[in-house]
Structures are given as structure tokens and as C-alpha cells.
């Protein structure tokens, strides 16, 4: 027992001597990343993590984050939220109270961002969710922001695009009733469409439940309803099934989607059936120019695939965070004052020029930004078609 104690004493003295010397004068800035590394959507977590690491590389290459002439070192605290609401809350609490991060980026999906945003707001810590579309995430929460446009904007964008592009007046909608995002978007689209073309112009409004794989009865109804276009705001795995089954049943008219189509998996699963279809999203990878292209090329060179919209939005969210910290003017080391300062700076950001468009925050913390309409080319690439601004 005594020998053991001696050993412990010896080892601890050595490590105390070897402990890294504290950073010079500049305070360390910690940025928390709350991402689903495991669980239902690990690809989303991976995209967030990779984008964050690229951002950190840039900061390190510049010798730190420049705040009022002082270069501050930056550290990322990446935590896994398992794609569960309670874990996202725990992770946020841990990052705020234990790691004392200055600002949090994430969580991505709304079911986590809504409760986690409550925690961030209570602790007066700025948080920006790059991907969450539920209005509750930022509503009445001055410390919570988001990086993407909302469904009440996207619904009308798609409705206007179809009307102007094709001149159709009768539309059909197929959506997942059990999932927050498709259901909300389907409702906003229906409302916008009926405002344009009068009540009853959505001739078929069909739903299914998450993990359904056979849509033939809904699609038969849609085909028989005489609709001219099908709008389906679904995720990539369902998009492939819906499009293929619709074609098998003889549907030859256009199918239009939303930003949830924007994953690289859509085209892999769907193949040629999806060529020539349109969807609205945050950015277009094919034919991108300038900073957007630079980001895509770098990401692809490093990780071997084209980044999807989550990675791009996370990149922009971190860019906003970086700019907010810089314009804050000074990092005092008192984390509560600094958080307040960063929050105020973030709310004041005007026309932030990101790779997913220019952003200005409203009072609610939601960005005003343009949507992009993408056409899936015959090579299966997501080509920029046009940009729709509010």
C-alpha cells in the first residue's frame, strides 16, 4: 500500500512538471460543436465535424482568431449528441458549464435544437443551429440563431417557381405525416399554392408514415387526380423510392423537391430516374464559383465526396461565429461578458457573405437569405438553375 502511494506521488510530481505551460497572454476561445456523431444520422454529424475541422485549420494557419488586434488561439469542443433530444440537452449543458465554451454551433436537427436552444438561452450563451427549420428553435430566444432559411419562406419559393417556370395550376403533394420537417413544408407549400391558384388547386394531398416503402396507393390517387406536378419534401431514401415508383406507375410530369433532397445519397439511390428534376436548396455544388467552389474542392480533396448542405451551412455558421467574435472587439476572459458581447455582435451582422448566400439576421435570429433552385443534370450533378430571393 505504501509503495503504491509513493508511486502515485512520484508520477503526479512528474506530470505536474511536464504540464504544458499556459497560453501566453491571449485568452483561449472555445467553440462548441453539438453534432449527431452516432445515432440515426451520423452522416450529418460527420459533415458538421469535417467542416468545423477545416474552419479550425484556417484559423490555425492564420495564427489564431484576430480580435481587436490580438490573435487568440481557438479550440473546438466536439460533442456527440447521439441524435437524441435528451443527449443534446446534456451536451449543451456540459459544454456551457463544464467546458465554458464561448459559443455553440449546432445541434442540427430540430428535435434537438429546440430543447438545446432553451438551455443555451437560459445560460445566455449564443448558439447557432445551422440546419434546424423549426420556428420554435429561435422563437423568443435572443441568444439562439440559425443558419438556414425557414419553411414559411421555402414553401412559397417552390410554389412561385413551379408557377413561373411551367405555368401549372394543379399540384399534388406527397409527404411524411410523422416527420416534423416534411409535414411543415407540405403545409406551407399548400397554403402558398392555394393563394396563387385558388382553393382546391392542390388536387391531391397524400401522406404516409416514416419508414413506409410502398407508395403505390398514394401515387395512384395522385395520378388519377389530374395533377400537373408532384411536390414531395422528403429525405433522400424516400425520394428515390417515390420517384422510381411514380415512373413505374406511368407518371411523366415533373416532380419537385425541397432542400432535404440535397444529399449526395439522393442521386446514388435514385439514379437516372431523378435526372432532370428540380429542387430548392441552400447552395448548388455543380457549377459553383468563387468561395463556394473553393470550399467544395477542398472538402472533396480531403474527404473524398462532395459536401452536402449540412457541411456548407455549418461552414457558414462557423464563419458567422468567427466574424461575430472578431467584431466583438475584445475577449476579456470573463466568459459571461464575452458571450454577451458575441451575441450582440452576431445579432448586428449585416449581409454576411457566406457560401450559401448573403445573410442578415432578423430580430428572431433567423437569417434573411436567398434560396437556390437546383436542376439534377443528366450526369447526376446538382446544377445551379436560378436563385430566388425574399
Amino acid at each position: 500500500m505504501r509503495k503504491g502511494l509513493k508511486w502515485i506521488a512520484a508520477v503526479s510530481v512528474i506530470t505536474l512538471l511536464l504540464a504544458p505551460v499556459a497560453w501566453g497572454k491571449a485568452e483561449l476561445i472555445k467553440v462548441g460543436i453539438n453534432a449527431p456523431m452516432t445515432g440515426d444520422i451520423p452522416k450529418v454529424g460527420e459533415g458538421s465535424k469535417f467542416a468545423a475541422q477545416m474552419w479550425l485549420e484556417d484559423i490555425k494557419a492564420a495564427g489564431g482568431l484576430d480580435v481587436g488586434g490580438v490573435k487568440h488561439p481557438v479550440e473546438l469542443v466536439i460533442e456527440d449528441n447521439e441524435s437524441k433530444a435528451e443527449s443534446a440537452v446534456k451536451t449543451n449543458t456540459k459544454m456551457i458549464t463544464e467546458d465554458e465554451v464561448l459559443v455553440i454551433v449546432g445541434p442540427q436537427s430540430s428535435k434537438q435544437a429546440v430543447p438545446a436552444g432553451d438551455v443555451a438561452n437560459n445560460y445566455k450563451t449564443p448558439m447557432i443551429s445551422p440546419w434546424s427549420t423549426n420556428p420554435d428553435t429561435t422563437k423568443d430566444r435572443p441568444y439562439v440563431f440559425r443558419g438556414c432559411f425557414l419553411d414559411p419562406f421555402q414553401g412559397p419559393v417552390v410554389a412561385n417557381f413551379i408557377t413561373n417556370e411551367f405555368g401549372f395550376t394543379k399540384a399534388a403533394v406527397l409527404y411524411d405525416v410523422a416527420s416534423d420537417y416534411p409535414k411543415g413544408l407540405a403545409e406551407f407549400f399548400k397554403k402558398a399554392w392555394e393563394e396563387l391558384h385558388g382553393p382546391g388547386s392542390v388536387v391531391a394531398y397524400e401522406s404516409f408514415t416514416t419508414k413506409d416503402a410502398d407508395f403505390s396507393s398514394q401515387l395512384t390517387n395522385i395520378i388519377n387526380s389530374g395533377a400537373e406536378v408532384l411536390f414531395t419534401p422528403q429525405y433522400y431514401n424516400e425520394v428515390a423510392l417515390i420517384v422510381q415508383q411514380a415512373h413505374e406507375l406511368g407518371w411523366k410530369k415533373p416532380i419537385v423537391g425541397s432542400d432535404s433532397w440535397g444529399s449526395a445519397e439522393t442521386i446514388e439511390l435514385c439514379g437516372a430516374a431523378c435526372h432532370g428534376l428540380f429542387f430548392s436548396t441552400h447552395y448548388a455544388a455543380a457549377g459553383a464559383t468563387g468561395k463556394t467552389k473553393e470550399f467544395i474542392d477542398r472538402y472533396q480533396a480531403k474527404h473524398g465526396y462532395i459536401p452536402d448542405d449540412v457541411a456548407a451551412l455549418t461552414w457558414d455558421a462557423l464563419g458567422i461565429v468567427g466574424q461575430a467574435i472578431s467584431t466583438c472587439g475584445k475577449i476579456t476572459g470573463d466568459v459571461e461578458d464575452d458571450r454577451q458581447c458575441v451575441r450582440d455582435a452576431m445579432a448586428k451582422i449585416k449581409e454576411y457573405d457566406g457560401i450559401t448566400g448573403k445573410m442578415t439576421f432578423t430580430e428572431e435570429g433567423d437569417p434573411i437569405k436567398c434560396a437556390v433552385i437546383v436542376k439534377i443534370s443528366d450526369k447526376g450533378e446538382y446544377e445551379f438553375y436560378k436563385s430566388v430571393c425574399p
Binding site: 503526479s12 435528451e86 446534456k90 428535435k111 432553451d118 409535414k183
Partner: protein, 435 residues
């Protein structure tokens, strides 16, 4: 939570080691007081010691997270845990052994409620002081206590009654939503139910009522399972209960007035640590009494042989119905607390993943055992919290542990063991107490 971990040394020692024999003679009261000393020490000196050692903060979950995130800090963290927890607990337990035994003996002469209240008060003080260090600890504690309630209530059906029920997240969802509708509708201003109907100050006092209502709604829902269970057993009942889970989930998804798939938020902040702790203590006490009562024995009889039980005048239908409703009631209460800890509920939370979690806790801890449920829930919640930095490897380590437990102890870690509060609190200075 260490209290639960450290209960094991208070069992009769099997080994002959001097250390174990010395530990075995410290009563539960002694252990609790020793841990109280340790957490007080951490509360007052922890920060200074952490600074001295060059740790940025007090290691939050006994240092495991720190070690996994920054392996270089390991010796310092281990030293911290040793100086703050291991050493003071060991020393104090040894020093106060005699007075604690004397005190335990005096206490046990009084009506059993008094020593029980004293023990619980010390346990709460430990949790409170331990949690005072950081909000993250408090949150972890609350969710762990809720997991204990859930596991225990599922153990009534799956362990004591021997049916394989998959509907527990469904009961939890019913309780969570019923409680939330009650509190949000009456005491909070929100966009679905409009302004608060009653003064907000009343809310905290009516919260137990809300929890009770949530539990009752879940119990009513349990009738849907209990009645088919008269005629079906085994796999078929498992499938029916799974169907019930999906029915509840899609029902809530289609109910617009509770927010549908978007979920229900802005619950008032009523689920404080004392609230969750008292609900959990009440739950353990009542369930423990339930399973040790005549009806608890009837449950075991139904599990072992339903026909024989029927022949021995056990009313099997009534037994099943009571068991299902009773277990669902506590699952509903746990759900209500869960909703108010997170202050947000959505139907997707109460899916297969939640079911797998609770089932794992029940089978890991041990069937037919209150001890087992507590150990299973606490160890799995703490483990999954502590191993979070490992990301994907966490999901290899935890299932591997489960497989190992299933191989070496097929009924779980501490199965078929009666939880006797009275014996637990006995003084241990005489060898005849060490049965």
C-alpha cells in the same frame, strides 16, 4: 450516485481480506456520512485542489470524461479523485465506524420511518452538494433518477410478472404529454394553449397533481395491453405491446393540439432535483412494497405457472391488470418528469431506441430485483454519459458489456434479490448481522 455503487461493500463480505472485513462492519449510515464528508470536501476544497494540480475544473464525473478527452491529464485526475473521494471516504468510514454503529442501533429502535427518513435525507444532501458543483451534474442526476423509475416500473412487468412488454415508452409518452398539457395549459403562456389560466405561483404546488394525472392517463392506456394479456403470452404479447407503442406514437403525431410531430415545448421549469428525487424515492419505496406484498407474490406465481397459480386461487386476470396499470402509472410519472426536465417533448423520442435503452437497463441490472433495477439504470446511464467522448466506440463497448453480462449472469447482475430497507440500515458491529 456513489451511494448506490457503494452499497455493495455493505453487503456481507465473501472474501477474507482484512480490508473487506473492515468495510463489512461499517453500516450504511457510516458509508453515507463518509460520502457526505467527501462531497463536502469537494465542495469547499475541490476548486483549490484542482487549481493546485493544474486541472482547469473539478473533474465532473469522477474524472472519466476528463481522462477520455485528454489522456495526458490522467495522473492528475486520478490523484484528484483519490484525494477527494477514495481517501476521505475510506478514512471517515473507518473512523466513524463505532459511532455510526451506535447511532444506527439507536435509530433502528425507533419506528422504521425515522431511520429511513434520516438515510434519505443524508442521501439527498449528498446528491445536492455533489450536484451543486455544476449544472451538468444536476441534469445527469435528474435523468438518471428518471431512468431508475422507468427501469423499476418495467421490471414489475418483465421481471416480476415475466411478460415481455415493449410498450413502456408508450406509457411514458402518455404520461409526458398528459402532464405537459396540464402544466402548459394552466400555468404557461404558449402559442398552442394561449395565456396561462391560473397564477404561475400555484404551478409548483400543483405539479405533483399533474404528475399523478399523467400517471393515471398512462395507467388507463395500459388497459389496452392488460386486457389482451389475459389470452396471449410470450411473443404474441410482445408484439401486441409493440403495436401499442406505435399506436401511441402515431396518435400523438396526428394530434395537432399538442403540436403533432413538431412536439410540445415551453413546459415550466418545475422538475427540480428535490422534486425528481422525492418522486424517485417514493417510486422505489412503493414498488418495493408492492412486489413484496401478496400481490407481488401473485405476480411471481403467474410468471412461473399461470395455470397452477389459477388453481391456487390467484386471480390471474386481476393480477395482470393491476401489474400493468401499476407499472404504467410509474412510467407515466417518469415521463412527466422527463418532459419537464427537458422542457420539450416530441413523439419521436418515445420510439424503439428508448425501448431498447430501458430494456437494456432492466436486463443488465437484473430481473425480479429492485436492487438490480437501480444498479442497471444508474450504471448504464452513467456509463453512457462518461463514455460519450468515445463516440462510435461507445456503441461497441456498452453492447459488449451487455453480451458479457448475458453470458455470465443470464438473468442480470443482481437478479432475484430482495431489497430489504430494514436490513440495509442495521448496525453491523455484531457478526450475527452479517448473514
Amino acid at each position: 450516485m456513489e451511494a448506490n455503487r457503494d452499497k455493495s461493500p455493505s453487503h456481507p463480505p465473501r472474501g477474507k481480506g482484512a480490508l473487506r472485513r473492515a468495510c463489512g462492519r461499517v453500516p450504511l449510515l457510516g458509508w453515507l456520512l463518509a460520502i457526505l464528508c467527501a462531497v463536502l470536501l469537494e465542495h469547499y476544497l475541490g476548486k483549490a485542489l484542482a487549481d493546485l494540480l493544474g486541472l482547469r475544473k473539478i473533474p465532473v464525473l469522477l474524472g472519466v470524461v476528463t481522462i477520455l478527452k485528454k489522456p495526458l491529464l490522467m495522473p492528475k485526475t486520478v490523484l484528484f479523485v483519490f484525494l477527494i473521494y477514495a481517501l476521505p471516504i475510506g478514512l471517515t468510514a473507518r473512523l466513524i465506524r463505532e459511532p455510526a454503529n451506535w447511532l444506527a442501533e439507536r435509530l433502528m429502535r425507533m419506528p422504521v420511518l425515522i431511520p429511513a427518513a434520516v438515510h434519505l435525507a443524508i442521501l439527498y444532501a449528498i446528491l445536492h452538494i455533489w450536484g451543486d458543483v455544476s449544472a451538468y451534474r444536476v441534469l445527469t442526476l435528474k435523468l438518471t433518477l428518471i431512468a431508475v423509475m422507468l427501469t423499476l416500473s418495467l421490471n414489475v412487468i418483465n421481471g416480476y410478472m415475466g411478460e415481455f412488454s415493449c410498450s413502456h415508452p408508450g406509457f411514458m409518452a402518455l404520461g409526458a404529454y398528459a402532464t405537459s398539457v396540464f402544466t402548459v395549459g394552466l400555468f404557461a403562456t404558449d402559442k398552442i394553449f394561449g395565456p396561462a389560466l391560473l397564477p404561475e405561483a400555484l404551478g409548483v404546488y400543483l405539479f405533483p397533481v399533474a404528475l399523478f394525472l399523467g400517471g393515471m392517463v398512462a395507467a388507463l392506456g395500459a388497459l389496452v395491453i392488460a386486457i389482451p394479456s389475459f389470452r396471449t403470452r410470450g411473443d404474441y404479447l410482445a408484439i401486441i405491446s409493440l403495436a401499442f407503442l406505435f399506436i401511441v406514437k402515431s396518435m400523438i403525431e396526428n394530434l395537432e393540439f399538442v403540436g403533432g410531430p413538431r412536439g410540445l415545448s415551453s413546459q415550466p421549469d418545475y422538475a427540480s432535483l428535490p422534486m425528481v428525487f422525492s418522486a424517485c424515492a417514493l417510486c422505489v419505496w412503493i414498488i418495493n412494497n408492492f412486489v413484496r406484498s401478496t400481490i407481488g407474490k401473485a405476480l411471481n406465481a403467474v410468471r412461473d405457472d399461470e395455470m397452477a397459480a389459477d388453481a391456487m386461487t390467484v386471480n390471474t386476470r386481476r393480477t395482470k391488470m393491476v401489474a400493468f396499470m401499476f407499472a404504467a402509472f410509474w412510467a407515466g410519472v417518469a415521463g412527466g418528469l422527463f418532459a419537464h426536465v427537458l422542457r420539450y417533448v416530441n413523439p419521436a423520442t418515445f420510439g424503439i431506441q428508448k425501448l431498447a435503452e430501458v430494456l437494456a437497463m432492466v436486463y443488465f441490472g437484473g430481473l425480479n430485483s429492485v436492487y438490480g433495477s437501480i444498479v442497471g439504470a444508474v450504471s448504464l446511464s452513467m456509463l453512457s454519459e462518461a463514455l460519450r467522448p468515445l463516440e462510435i466506440f461507445k456503441w461497441i463497448i456498452i453492447p459488449l458489456l451487455l453480451i458479457l453480462v448475458m453470458i455470465f449472469r443470464p438473468t442480470g447482475l443482481i437478479a432475484f434479490k430482495e431489497f430489504d430497507g430494514r436490513r440495509l440500515m442495521q448496525p453491523r458491529n455484531r457478526p450475527d448481522n452479517e448473514v
